[in-house]
Subunit: 142 residues, 2 copies
DNA sequence: GTTGCTGCAAAGTGTTTGCACCCTG
DNA sequence: CAGGGTGCAAACACTTTGCAGCAAC
């Protein structure tokens, strides 16, 4: 069973004279199986179940690799640690973060994007990326 | 010369059984004089000019105090350190960050805010705050 | 004179790096 | 069998904390 994500990783690895290892496979599989928006530490715990001897440093190094190969995307919700989300076949979106329960709702709004471009153009600014985070209380916590 | 910001700090301090000190006054003054979006380290260097014996920890502690008393607002642009902006009489705005020169342009767009509320309502989510950061290249770096 | 504040150094947190050994290609 | 990958521990950058002495009220 080779997932399409594994193929992407294979491609990236062979194109860059790198090597596929059982640790990298384990990290990728755990990353794909787990909920979105994992931290390195959380992923480390998950991978450890399958690959007990793995080191935290390897998880960090593999997450960097996944980010470079576009399989993962780095996020920073301002809680002091980076989080990673699935990127493959996963188009751009923004986040609502419930400050009570930590729930994350993804959304996009075409008009928000449009007005971002507008205000950028007004300032002669060329957007390469953006982050929009709404913090608040979700329906379940109200 | 007592600035309105100093009065706010005084109020907060007396209301909470705290004490005003020359270090706190020095940090506040340096914070008000310096450009917006300072990091703790930067502010520490500035304050050190006037108050050479001050410790970095005091700057951190005073920044926490300023944040609590609403004089400062904590920001995280994802570069690994917190930054602080003037908050007093300074209404909400978002940020464009030039990834070449670090320049920060502040902006607001009423329609963006409006559509944020709309998409939140659609998800039964109550917004308490938000962060919108546009990353890209400013006019001077193009 | 209490009680909070300071400076210092030590401890913390999340992440990165150096190194000797291991394993993939 | 060469060169990259791994685990471990140490190093890192930023921030917080413990403590003894100090200063504001």
């Amino acid at each position: 069973m080779v997932s399409k994500e594994m193929e992407v990783l294979q491609d990236y690895i062979t194109q860059n004279n790198l090597k596929i290892t059982k640790q990298r496979r384990a990290v990728l599989n755990a990353f794909l199986e787990c909920e979105n928006h994992v931290s390195a530490e959380e992923l480390y715990k998950l991978v450890s179940e399958k690959e007990p001897k793995i080191g935290l440093a390897t998880v960090y190094r593999t997450l960097a690799l996944l980010t470079q190969s576009q399989l993962a995307h780095e996020l920073d919700f301002g809680d002091g640690q980076k989080r990673y989300e699935h990127q493959f076949m996963h188009s751009h979106h923004d986040h609502m973060i419930c400050t009570e329960c930590g729930k994350i709702i993804e959304f996009t709004h075409p008009l928000i994007e449009k007005f971002q471009e507008e205000v950028a153009a007004r300032n002669s600014f060329t957007i390469t990326s953006h982050k929009l985070h709404l913090f608040g209380i979700c329906s379940g916590c109200r």
